[in-house]
């Protein structure tokens, strides 16, 4: 079952063009939505689809739309900041089928009574941004954007905004600040964007993949979408496989297959005859899974969650038995320390402290006391080190840095101890 990638797989060289898009059923949902269904019915289909956000938090899109405050103007903002290490699905959707997203944006804006939508693309994605800008320009030319779209009386403008290099702008309120021309610092919530978002106006933020599903849902009905896959993980979703697997790449799957099948089936197993050591099931901020415990856990949102990790952004990072787990943990912590916006004391100081201790250990200067210290600093950022994490911070970035530390100590403490060896400090 393919929804998002069907066109690009069937039409290798031109799935991104408007000609191909229209020739394969593109913009029919738009006609249906604008001219037949009406705004409320489009919203109702999305609600009925049980489509959950694909940006990482898995929040049901229809429910979020229902929270949009009545004040006008309202805005739709598409989150194309895709920066969670391991994740590269939105890039493919943007490059290979930009019109699918544009159509989803128009339909969603229509449903939400939005007349100006923004698509925030991370600055390091010039090619996806070019493809998308071309698609937007074509949509304007065809009358799918601009005023009185298809004679429906509905007006919509779309602005593509390039980021400047900051992972934290993927967090929706930081993204809004960035779009307003500010530092990409997450905002205090509440108020949530649906109440006070862009320019303090009601705003819906959705991920690229989330909205790319909307044309299909409008064409086939929300109920049809909801019937695909397990109840609470409806529809298909993109997963990104990377690391030590034979066949890395993006896969559009129906959720529910066990992790074993993802890694050994889709992924083709571990290259070079090596053994699987651990994997990260949902982006680098997710706690690690290990073969002894998790290979047969079904890859659904709920099952992953109840086993102490998350599907997150759908990024699966596989590590074989040659991996130095301390170095891997350090590399992940370094990322979060580098990407901290710096507002919250525990995140700004704590993640950097974690990074420096791990660096010291990796460089052969570790002390045994560092193990407890690492855990205790983590505890100060995410009290109790529970799952899902509690936070002493404004946003989940700070706690994200503690996941690799905790997983490292949980499964590979002996490797840390071995690396520290006889400390004389």
């Amino acid at each position: 079952m393919k929804i998002l990638t069907e066109r690009m797989e069937a039409h290798r060289t031109d799935s991104h063009t408007i000609e191909r898009y229209e020739a394969t059923g593109g913009y029919t949902a738009l006609r249906k939505g604008l001219l037949e269904l009406g705004a409320e019915a489009v919203a109702a289909e999305v609600k009925a689809s049980n489509l959950r956000g694909r940006g990482g938090a898995n929040f049901p899109a229809g429910v979020k739309w229902g929270f949009l405050a009545p004040a006008k103007p309202a805005y739709l903002v598409v989150n194309g900041d895709e920066s969670e290490p391991g994740t590269f699905k939105d890039r493919q959707l943007l490059e290979r089928d930009p019109h699918q997203l544009v159509e989803g944006v128009i339909l969603s804006s229509f449903a939400l009574d939005v007349h100006h939508a923004f698509i925030y693309i991370r600055g390091e994605y010039p090619k996806p941004a070019r493809r998308l800008q071309d698609a937007v320009d074509e949509a304007y030319e065809k009358g799918y954007l601009g005023s009185d779209i298809l004679g429906s009386g509905f007006d919509l403008d779309v602005t593509i905004h390039l980021g400047g290099g900051a992972y934290i702008c993927g967090e929706e309120s930081a993204l809004l600040n960035s779009l307003e021309g500010r530092r990409g610092e997450p905002r205090i919530k509440p108020p949530f964007p649906a109440i006070e978002g862009l320019y303090s106006k009601p705003t819906i933020v959705n991920n690229v993949e989330t909205l790319s599903n909307v044309p299909w849902i409008v064409n086939n009905g929300g109920v049809a979408y909801a019937r695909i896959g397990p109840d609470t993980s409806a529809g298909t979703r993109m997963i990104s496989l990377s690391g030590h697997v034979e066949n890395p790449g993006n896969y559009e799957i129906v959720m529910g297959m066990p992790w074993r099948e993802i890694i050994y089936g889709l992924g083709g197993g571990i290259p070079g005859g090596r053994e699987l050591k651990a994997w990260i099931p949902g982006g680098s901020s997710a706690p690690w899974f290990v073969p002894a415990e998790h290979l047969d856990v079904p890859a659904t949102i709920d099952d992953t969650d109840s086993n102490g990790s998350m599907m997150g952004s759908g990024a699966i990072i596989v590590m074989d038995d040659s991996t130095d787990m301390v170095k891997a943990a350090h590399r992940i912590v370094r990322f979060y320390s580098h990407e901290s916006c710096g507002q919250c004391t525990p995140c700004r100081e704590g993640t950097t402290w974690l990074e420096r201790i791990l660096y010291r250990i990796v460089s052969g200067q570790g002390r045994h006391a560092d193990i407890e210290l690492l855990l205790d600093i983590s505890d100060g950022i995410s009290p109790g080190l529970t799952w899902p994490p509690l936070m002493t911070t404004i946003c989940p970035l700070g706690p994200s840095a503690t996941a690799p530390v905790v997983s490292l100590m949980q499964y590979f403490r002996h490797e840390v101890e071995a690396m520290i060896g006889d400390d004389d400090g």
Binding site: M8, R12, T13, D14, S15, H16, P73, E82, S83, P85, G86, T87, F88, D90, R91, Q92, E95, R96, G123, E124, Y125, P126, K127, A129, R130, Q133, D157, T159, I160, H161, L162, G163, G164, G165, A166, Y167, S178, L179, E180, G181, R182, R183, G184, Y199, S240, S242, G243, H244, P248, G249, N250, S284, I317, T323, K327, A328, R331, I332, F335, E339
Partner: protein, 219 residues
């Protein structure tokens, strides 16, 4: 989108910019309900005009967006792609985040540093190169990943990375294009790229039409 006319003061501030950049600035201002939102795109344009984000550039962007220079500096310095020091013609970034790390990115970085003679985080080679390690660039399935002026190459080996450095140094291409570089120096990709990409970057600024940083032939 709304009509924007620059005031005399604003127009004077950027009269040193090329005509297309001036025009693009006005267009960009017209794309947002609040002019402050234009600060990030305008910073890119100021990089195109001034080579990097200079103090003057920040003042100019401030005038256009109604911000003090300190506010512009505050925004510009938050993001890693706004370079506030002179950079080389080719900004070579090597992803060293987790997936690329697992597949040997550190060796690729070392090879590039060695071949170019420019250490990570610095510029050199008579203004040819700036080398930096970067965080995940969304191509983890094609790790390790190298970017030249934000145009991506996937599946790069240390040997290919050295070839890339030499190719840039000796050939000094005006436009770097992801398609061409992938063909010459790349390997495994995160996904099938589909059709050829005819355009690329002319500067160490993401190649994007509205900013005027795109070069090469359009199809």
């Amino acid at each position: 989108m709304k009509e924007v006319v620059l005031t005399a003061k604003e127009a004077t501030a950027i009269e040193g910019w090329s005509k297309p950049s001036q025009q693009r600035s006005v267009e960009i201002l017209s794309r947002y309900p609040d002019k402050r939102s234009a600060v990030m795109p305008l910073l890119y344009i100021s990089m195109i005009e001034n080579g990097y984000v200079t103090e003057d550039g920040m003042r100019q962007v401030g005038l256009l967006t109604g911000l003090s220079p300190a506010q512009v500096q505050s925004v510009a310095s938050f993001y890693t792609m706004y370079k506030r020091e002179p950079i080389g013609d080719y900004l070579v970034g090597v992803c060293t985040s987790i997936s690329c790390f697992l597949l040997g990115a550190d060796d690729v970085l070392a090879a590039i540093e060695d071949e170019s003679g420019v250490p990570d985080g610095e510029s050199g080679g008579d203004g040819t190169f700036s080398i930096e390690h970067v965080e995940c660039n969304g191509a983890c399935g094609g790790a390790p990943v190298v970017l030249v002026n934000w145009e991506m190459i996937e599946g790069v080996t240390p040997e290919k990375a050295r070839e890339l450095v030499r190719w840039l140094r000796d050939g000094r291409p005006d436009v770097v294009n992801t398609e061409e570089m992938q063909r010459l120096f790349g390997g495994k990709r995160a996904f099938d790229w589909g059709v050829k990409e005819p355009v690329g970057a002319i500067l160490p600024v993401p190649a994007f039409g509205p900013y005027g940083s795109v070069g090469g032939e359009a199809t």
